[in-house]
C-alpha cells in the first residue's frame, strides 16, 4: 500500500519546524571529516553510505517520525553546516536540521585542512540552538546524538597540527555528564594513536578506532542508537550497541 510519491525537497527558506508533526524530536548531527586525507575511495564510500542510509531512514516509519538530521563537515578551508544536500552560507539564520523523511544526503568532496575543533564547536552550538527553537515551539526532544568521524588529527587553518581541541574538553565533559547530548567520536582509516587519544578525550563514553572506512555500519549504529533512544533505553543499552559495533572489526578488514 505504499504510494510512490517521493518526499519533496524543501527550499532552504522553508519554515524549519514542521507544523503538521509535533512528535518529540531526536536531533542527530553528523560531524564529518572531509579533509584532503579523505580523498578518493574514502570520500566515495562515505557518499555511498550516506545515500543508502538516507534511503533506509526514509523507509523507517518510526525513525523518520522524530529524527531530524544536520550535517557539519570540516575540510577545504573551514567548516560548513549543511541543510540536507545544501551547504549553508556562514551566519545564515537557517537551521541545518531537516526532518528525516525529507533529508537528502549531501555529496561531499575531500580537500584541505582538518578544523575538527571548530566543527565540533559548531555541532554543539547548532544542537543548543535547535533545543531552544524546539522548546519555544512547545516541542520536546530526546537526547541529541552527535557523531564525529575523522581519519586524522585536528589542525589549524594552515594545516598544522594544533592543541586547540583541548579547550573543548571541559565543556564537552560537562555537557555529556549533564546528558545534553551523546557524543560519539569515531576514528577511521589510518588514524594515528595520537588521533585516537584525541577522540578518547573528547568522548570518553563512546569512542572507537575502526579499520577501513565502515561508514555504512557506522550510520546503522547511529540508527540503532536513535531507536534505543526512542524506546527510552538505559545507558547500558547504548553501551551494548556501541560495543557490538566496535567488536565487529574483523569482518570489515576482509
Amino acid at each position: 500500500m505504499r504510494n510512490e510519491r517521493q518526499p519533496r525537497t524543501l527550499p532552504a527558506s522553508y519554515a524549519d519546524i514542521e507544523f503538521e508533526n509535533n512528535a518529540q524530536r531526536l536531533p542527530l548531527v553528523l560531524c564529518l571529516d572531509t579533509s584532503s586525507s579523505m580523498t578518493g575511495p574514502p570520500i566515495q564510500t562515505l557518499n555511498d553510505a550516506l545515500r543508502s542510509w538516507t534511503r533506509e531512514l526514509h523507509d523507517d516509519v518510526s525513525l523518520s517520525y522524530s529524527v531530524e538530521v544536520a550535517v557539519v563537515t570540516f575540510g577545504g578551508q573551514g567548516v560548513c553546516a549543511w541543510r540536507g544536500a545544501q551547504p549553508l552560507p556562514p551566519q545564515v539564520p537557517v537551521s541545518p536540521f531537516v526532518p528525516a523523511h525529507a533529508f537528502q544526503a549531501p555529496v561531499l568532496g575531500a580537500a584541505g585542512v582538518t578544523l575538527l575543533t571548530e566543527a565540533l564547536e559548531l555541532a554543539v552550538r547548532i544542537v543548543a540552538d535547535r533545543k531552544a527553537e524546539l522548546r519555544a515551539g512547545g516541542l520536546q526532544y530526546y537526547r541529541p546524538q552527535i557523531c564525529l568521524v575523522t581519519d586524522g588529527l585536528p589542525t589549524d587553518g594552515t594545516g598544522r597540527w594544533t592543541n586547540a581541541w583541548q579547550r573543548l574538553v571541559p565543556t564537552l565533559t560537562d555537557d555529556q555528564l549533564a546528558r545534553k547530548y551523546r557524543l560519539y567520536a569515531i576514528g577511521v582509516g589510518d588514524i594515528s594513536d595520537m588521533g585516537e587519544q584525541v577522540l578518547k578525550a573528547l568522548a570518553p563514553a563512546f569512542n572507537a578506532r575502526l579499520h577501513g572506512f565502515p561508514f555504512r555500519e557506522l550510520l546503522q549504529m547511529m540508527s540503532a542508537s536513535a531507536n534505543a533512544e526512542q524506546r527510552g533505553a538505559g545507558d547500558e543499552v547504548f553501551e551494548k550497541i556501541f560495543a557490538q559495533f566496535r567488536t565487529q572489526r574483523p569482518a570489515w578488514e576482509a
Binding site: 508533526n21 543508502s52 516509519v61 518510526s62 533545543k131 520536546q140 543499552v237 547504548f238 550497541i241 557490538q244
Partner: protein
Amino acid sequence: MGDGARLVTAPTGQRVLLDGRRVTLGPQPLKGGGQAAVYPVADHRQIVVKLYREPPGAEQERRLERMLTLTPLGGRPIGPGQPPELAWPTAVARGAGGEFLGYAMRRFGEPGHVQLVGLFTRAQRLRLFPERTDWRFMLGVGWNLAFMTARMHYEGLVVGDFSSNNVVVDANGFVTFLDCDSIAFTDPATHEEFPCLMQTADYAAPERLAGGPATRQSDDFALAVLIYQLLTAGNHPFGGVPRDSESETTVKDNIAASRSYVAAPGCVIVPRGVVDPTILPPALLALARRAFGPGVTHPAARPQAQDWLRALDEERRLARVCPDRPRHSHGSHLTTCPWCARAAVTGHDVFNDTSPTGPNPSAASAASRQTKQMHLMQPVQPVHPTQQKRRQRRREQAGPPSRQAPTWLPDTGRPLALGLTILVAVLVLVIVVNLAQGH
C-alpha cells in the same frame, strides 16, 4: 545499496537452525533495536528471525519453548482477508551447537503492514496508507486496538511493551501485535509466570517507569495514549514543555509528573499546532481525561479496553463526513468540520496535502465525490439512553466481541453503500445522456 557499502559487509548472513532445519539469514537486519535485531531469511520471504544481541538467558529460552506450545487467540473466527493478530513465535532459532539465539515468526512488513506510528503524520499517512484514509479509519483502528487489548486481557495475556512501534496496521485497519516475546503470561499447563521485561518510555505508565511490573492497567494506559494519538492524528497527550522553559522535558518526564494538557489545560506550553482535545467526541474525551488525569497515578481509575470499545463503537456509527474536502470526517458532536476550520486558520490541512506540488486536484475532487456519497450513508439514529444501557449490559455480559472489524465501513453500511453507489451511477448516467441529447 551502493557497491562500496556491500564491500564492507559479509556477502551472506548468519546460518541458524529453525526446528533443526538450516536456514541462511540476510546479511543486513531489517530492523535493529537495543536488545535484538530482526533478519530476513533467504528463500523464505514470509518469515523473519529475531536474534538477541547478547546471549539470552535460560529463562528467555524457557519462555520461547513454552510459547511454542500455546496458541493464544487461536480457534476463533477472524475476518476474511484478516492477517493473524499476533506475530507469535513459530520456531526457536539455534546456532550450530544448539545454542539458543532467538526465534522465528511470520513477517509483517511493509508495504502490507505499517507500524502504527505511520498513522501519526500526514506525510506518512499519505505515503503508506490507502488514499481515503481519514478520521473514521483512525477511529476504526482505535477500535481494533481496544478490541485486541480486551481480547488479550480476557485470555490472561498482558501486552507489556505496548507502543506505536510494536503494532502494525494493514490497509483495512486490522492490527497485528509484534514482539510477542515480551508479552507477560502465565503458562496454563505449568502455571509458570513469565513477566514482561520490556517497555517503551513514551507509553509506559508511571508505575512502570518506577520499575513496577506490567499489568492490565499499564496496558490500559498505553492503550489510552495510542487511541488519543489516533483520534488527534498523532498528538501525544503528554506533549508540551513546562513553563519554566529552561528545563529539558521529555514525554517520559511529563508522564512521571502527571502533566497532560488533555486533563489539565494550561499545565504546559502545548506543542505548536496541537489539535484541540475537544476534537474527541464527549464520551471519548471523558475517557481520555480520566486516563490522563486521575488515571495517571491511580491505575484502577483508568478506563479499561472494554470502556474504550463501547465508546468507540457508538462513535463509529455516528461519525460525519465533511462535504467540502476529501478525507475530512469527524465526530457527531461537531456541526462543522474541524479540519476545514483548522486549515482555514493555519493553512495546514491535517489530511490533505494542499501544497501546489501535492496530489493533483482532480484526484481530490474524485475523492470528494466519494465522501459525499458516504455522507448520505451515515445512519444518524439518536439512541435512547435506556435502550443504550440495555445494549451496553448485553455487551458486558458477552465479553469482548469475537473479532476485529475492517475499519472502512460499519457492517450495516455495506448493502446501503452498494445501493447508493448504484443509485449514483444511474443518476450520473442519466445526466450524461441528457447532456449528450442537449447537444
